[in-house]
Symmetry: C2
Subunit: 233 residues, 2 copies
Amino acid sequence: MKTLIIVSHPEIDESGSQQYLKEALPDSSDITFHHLESTYPEGKIDIEQEQQLLQQHDRIIFQFPLYWYSSPPMLKHWQDEVLTENFAYGFGGNKLKDKELGLVLVIGMPEKEYQVSGNEGYTLSALTTPYQAMAKKTQMNFLKPFLIFQFHYMEESEKMRMLIAYQQYLMIENFDTLRAKENWFLQQLDDMDEKFLPDGSQFILDQIKELIEDNRMELDEIQMYLEQAGGSL
Amino acid sequence: MKTLIIVSHPEIDESGSQQYLKEALPDSSDITFHHLESTYPEGKIDIEQEQQLLQQHDRIIFQFPLYWYSSPPMLKHWQDEVLTENFAYGFGGNKLKDKELGLVLVIGMPEKEYQVSGNEGYTLSALTTPYQAMAKKTQMNFLKPFLIFQFHYMEESEKMRMLIAYQQYLMIENFDTLRAKENWFLQQLDDMDEKFLPDGSQFILDQIKELIEDNRMELDEIQMYLEQAGGSL
């Protein structure tokens, strides 16, 4: 699965959160990082190039700071220019069909304000309706948004947990299932190069892998038991 | 009451609907027409000037074609630049408080598609959530949006009716009440200059005024009767 991260931020070099996310990107040929404002400093978008990029990827991510409950203007400009009739919708316009659309939103206010009687007063599910409608129009599957609230107030351990979830959001199919996350962790453990690990840590890692696999087997057994029980009722 | 119409359209001269609306603007010092893309062709916004404009008006209208369920990028750029902290929100940021925010949306698809199981699938009430949230944040009163569906398919008589409603949307306080509309029509009739009317038409206009006023008196009487009946129950 190939993932295209379309980032829109007018001053990305000044943004601690965007720099943090960028540095955490896995070094993988399956991930393309694409910052619009630096690709097109004059605002003139190469439509054909963008449409090719879209077609070469399976999961499309819009990543941006939520300003006035929407994206910076450059991403909107990109939408208006690139998502043309007969490409994204309308007659023959099925080039995005069955691809995934995800949002990575960096949000300045706390999560609790985005509900009725909160200071912001509206949920992120409501505020992102225009993107849901875009996914519907282009026949894309809309993923649960990945929301980062108040990055600058996060502790280091929270940031680390967020990063892992972010990498999973970018790379895993069905990223929201326990099984997919397990497999992802096992893969990460396999990818660690013994040479760079302190003495004895390989043994610990092997133990962790075994533990994850044991847990999985137990869960599978319970699952099987439940299914049989259900069938005999 | 002073109304500021902030129009965003990247190619306004090519837009039949925007030209039609513009030509229909009442010649009134209470209405300011402000097209962003032609005011700032380089995209560099004069923030102070824009904030002054806002403060000089009571009703602020965002008028634009609905592309990908939102505004053209220029209006978003305007929001991000002009609606600064300490002006529009935050400490001391009450400069828009109690003003009205209205939307005039020109929409290419038919109204019936903007509902569950319609082709667009989402209501305009849901799609405009980001503007409702902006009104909340800035303590503005959000008006019912003024929606123009499929302008190019409208018959001449429909366009005329739409224009009258548009002028009322711009100019009348409580534009959605019958009484306000009546007063507006009476004012329009008063403003007609006898010199330019065909012979005998002044008599007809006077009859119409009398009819409207009679209707109003009858409605007032019914209203009074209902209130008394309610009080004696």
